[in-house]
Amino acid sequence: MTTDVMLTADTVGQRRENLYFALRNPKVLIGLTIVVGLALLGVIGPFFLSATPNEYIGPKSEAPSADHWLGTTYFGQDVFTQFVHGLRSSYLVGSLGGLIAFVIGMSVGFTAGYRGGLVDEFLNMLTNVVLVLPALAVLIVISSYLEVRGVISQAVIIGLFSWPWVARAVRAQTFTLRNRDYVDLAKLTGKRPGQIIMREIMPNMASYLLMSVILLFGGAILFAAMLDFIGMGPSNSVSLGSMMQQAMAWSSLHLGLWWWFVPPGAAITLIVGGLYITNVGLDEVFNPKLREK
């Protein structure tokens, strides 16, 4: 039947369309290139660098040169080595912190949205409390409470505090989705709430969830940089934020060591900006209204 042939073509289109647009969307392309490129640098880079980031290997305060691509610090550490290691920890914090926040936000959001009623009100309250607590302040306090601060603990802390908006958004979306007929149908099939959330509701928010992950990832990187900058970062490793902190602490502005503080900030901007731009691109892909603009 001709109609059937048509339909098949149509389906494949619908499913592939998103991929097609995603791969053709310049924003997604540019954004991903930046993010993935820097990630690769952070992951692979350290294997090619002999020095550890804090080692004094070169002359002090030297401008970028062939030997030291990004110059050296006030103590003669190689800025490029630090930069590469910093990238690595930024990505680690970003992904771990983002993931934790995502999981919490999702759980709270789904539970509140699906259950409704008292459970919802309670979780809403919890969300509000976390939202009301001055996150930065609490983070600082908790960070200082942890005697030894590592990238992981930092990520956990960030994760524990950045979920509320995800929870809110997921809750709102769940509210609308839980009234869909197919949810009722799943109930009529004797499915438990957990199964319904996982198998009926969540897949329908996939694009949205993906974007939340992206935003959380970027947010966690920024937050971590902020903490690092005020000296609440991981104590024994190099991060992009702590590079800026060190640069400031050792008067790089006045000594003219711009190569010390410009690259880390630029990298964060690029990563987060790249993520955001990817996000817009994806948004255009998933939301045809924006695509047509």
Partner: protein
């Protein structure tokens, strides 16, 4: 077989649930095997709510729903799963009854997963084929497709096939044809007809009086959450006693007769009152015909 006794439902509405809205008031009725019972009424009269309560998708505020004498509002989770072996539903919007991102036949697969986990694949496949057959679908044409690749009629029929996989006794059909095209709706309607011939009881929720008339033996007319008139279809539609029923019938557009040709004067109806009070009682006006007294 299925019996509702003095069922009430109120929703909490307004922000933070500050208000109560009584959607269904003191509704009692029963359906026998092989019978189609239509529920008609204006938008918001509580039809869907009744259907969902029968399906236990929403809780009952007061009253009892009995299947073969057992009050299912009291059974727990396990009991509910058993209940669904007997009572299933199909909803208004065929497209939203399917999760758009999965293949349509997933609804069938889910039934296997929940109720027939041990049935062999081949056995199951033939069972599916049979039930698709009985709703007039060709397995090859619908299996493995995504919802948007199928027509509304196909989707609705597949949902009915899904219900049939379970050997059900009662089907709740909530406006299952109102989203369909004029021509496909007939297919679905005729399917319901054949189901009833097979002994299924159908609760047919609709706002289209002509369809109700076409398919059902008995009808319930609801207004403001309560029953205003009920009885055998022929009697109710042929001799509507309640002013609301009359208004309703007069408003139905019909082919071949224009409104202008036999103008029925529209009667002013009493407005919506205090819904928490019990509604006007039904009085028998004829054999198999009850009407609520007009206050």
């Amino acid at each position: 077989m299925l019996e509702l006794e003095k069922v009430w439902k109120s929703y909490r509405v307004g922000s933070l649930g500050s208000k109560k809205l009584t959607a269904v008031r003191d509704v009692s009725f029963s359906i026998a095997p092989g019978e189609v019972l239509s529920v008609v009424g204006e938008s918001g009269s509580g039809k869907t709510t009744v259907g969902k309560m029968v399906l236990q998708l929403i809780s009952v505020s007061k009253g009892a729903i009995r299947l073969d004498g057992e009050d299912i509002t009291k059974t727990g989770k396990r009991g509910l799963k058993e209940y669904y072996r007997n009572v299933q539903g199909v909803f208004q919007d065929p497209f939203s009854s399917y999760n758009p991102i999965f293949r349509a036949d997933r609804v069938l697969e889910m039934v296997k997963e929940s109720y027939f986990p041990r049935v062999k694949r081949s056995e199951w496949d033939s069972k599916v084929e049979d039930s698709l057959q009985s709703v007039g679908l060709e397995a090859g044409a619908v299996l493995g497709k995504y919802p948007h690749q199928l027509s509304g009629g196909q989707l609705q029929r597949m949902l009915i096939a899904r219900a049939l996989l379970l050997d059900i006794k009662v089907l709740v059909a909530d406006e299952i044809i109102s989203m369909l095209d004029a021509s496909t709706r007939i297919d679905v309607l005729n399917l319901l007809g054949s189901l009833k011939e097979r002994g299924l009881a159908v609760l047919f929720v609709t706002h289209d009086l002509s369809l109700a008339n076409y398919i059902s033996e008995r009808v319930i007319i609801m207004r403001h959450g309560a029953i205003v008139e009920t009885g055998a279809t022929g009697k109710v539609f042929g001799d509507p006693r309640h002013p609301y029923s009359r208004n309703l019938l007069a408003s139905v557009p019909q082919l071949h007769t224009k409104w202008s040709e036999n103008p029925i004067p529209v009667v002013e109806l009493e407005p919506d009152g205090d819904r928490s009070r019990p509604p006007a009682p039904l009085t028998k006006v004829d054999e198999r015909h009850w009407v609520a007294s007009v206050g």
